[in-house]
Symmetry: C2
Subunit: 222 residues, 2 copies
């Protein structure tokens, strides 16, 4: 009983957060019901309970908005979901396309401490296997002013910010190239033939594939 009382609540909050992210238009009863494949009556009932709990606030225009408290909770669920995805992919060798279902279950495991330890065990990944940012324990999401190196301009110097792929093999490869957060990189050239890049790192030129470049997130160097 006590274990999964919150599953429902958590799913509503998560869905509200997700809808809020992707759609600018207001999230109303109907939209939520449709997104969650539930009857509007059911959703309304639950939204009222969430309003009681100050997790959600009904706007004058009848749209449903997360309160700050609700947003925090939603972010913690997203955090858990994405960290478990990293675990499943990096440690249990699932493909990124297979992990969503499982993460939907694991995200409801109720322990702040567990998720923090998991994060440490995974060495604080900034992104999940799909490249979505992982909120930190305070709910802060790494602001993505960074761009993929593959979309950067030639001959300008960039600072490596993070990586969109957290696979061990990728990270090992980066380590071998001496690429880590903070590393300065300049695009020397891009080959027309296979879209691979010639990069200048620490005054040495190296060749990387388009895929690798797309998974290196950079900011313009100041």
């Amino acid at each position: 009983m006590s274990h999964f009382v919150n599953h429902f609540e958590e799913n509503y909050l998560k869905e509200l957060y997700k809808l809020g992210q992707k759609e600018i238009k207001k999230v109303n009863n109907i939209a939520l019901a449709k997104a969650m494949e539930l009857n509007p009556a059911t959703v309304l009932e639950m939204v009222r309970k969430l309003t009681e709990k100050k997790l959600v606030a009904l706007q004058p225009d009848k749209s449903i908005a997360l309160t700050e408290k609700g947003r925090k909770k939603a972010l913690m669920i997203v955090r858990k979901h994405r960290l478990w995805e990293v675990f499943l992919v990096n440690k249990l060798h699932y493909k990124w396309s297979e992990v969503h279902q499982l993460a939907e279950q694991l995200e409801h495991i109720d322990s702040e401490d567990l998720v923090n330890r998991l994060e440490e065990f995974l060495e604080f990944p900034a992104f999940d296997p799909h490249g979505d940012p992982i909120p930190d324990k305070n709910g802060k999401i790494k602001k993505n002013s960074s761009i993929a190196l593959s979309t950067a301009s030639k001959d300008k110097t960039y600072l490596v910010q993070s990586f969109a792929d957290t696979a061990d093999s990728f990270l090992d490869y980066l380590a071998a190239l001496n690429i880590q957060p903070g590393t300065k990189i300049k695009i020397v050239d891009q080959l027309q033939y296979d879209n691979s890049f010639t990069l200048n790192i620490n005054k040495k030129n190296v060749q990387v594939s388009q895929k690798v470049a797309s998974n290196i997130l950079v900011q313009p160097a100041t």
Copy 2:
């Protein structure tokens, strides 16, 4: 909804299995209700549903017995529980005393494949951090004809079967002493002072604590 439909059922099956293990006397309604801290009426209702599903069979003497199907299910839950415990202790560095609650949640994650991968990731531990055996994917539990080395007789030769502790540090220690499944061990002496043991391994004598000896499971050598 679909995610946790089985939580209740699973908890009943697990409890029945556990009671069946430790107590020889029949498991009746009252006993189950007491163990699960539920009202007998509730338990009776649920036991009927489980009977419908052929997971449980009511005996003539009104005791409740798991069917083969029910036992298999229960074993799979126990398997998940114990593997997650190993994960929590070995990988996330929880203490063995802290993991039960969390494992109670994790054991309900519904994926055969996940638990099999987890088992592989943990390198097929035979015992959980408490020393309880972990059923394999077919529900087979390593028969425990083995005894703790600490309870073995002096001057007889034993064969190491497995370990009741799966902590990395313990296993590292064992490796350093060249103790592994199959190793022949003879107890040379036990010190009265601290209950530590002098063991003969490969014709060399080593000294181990009472704790270490209690976590080494052995069988009499043929």
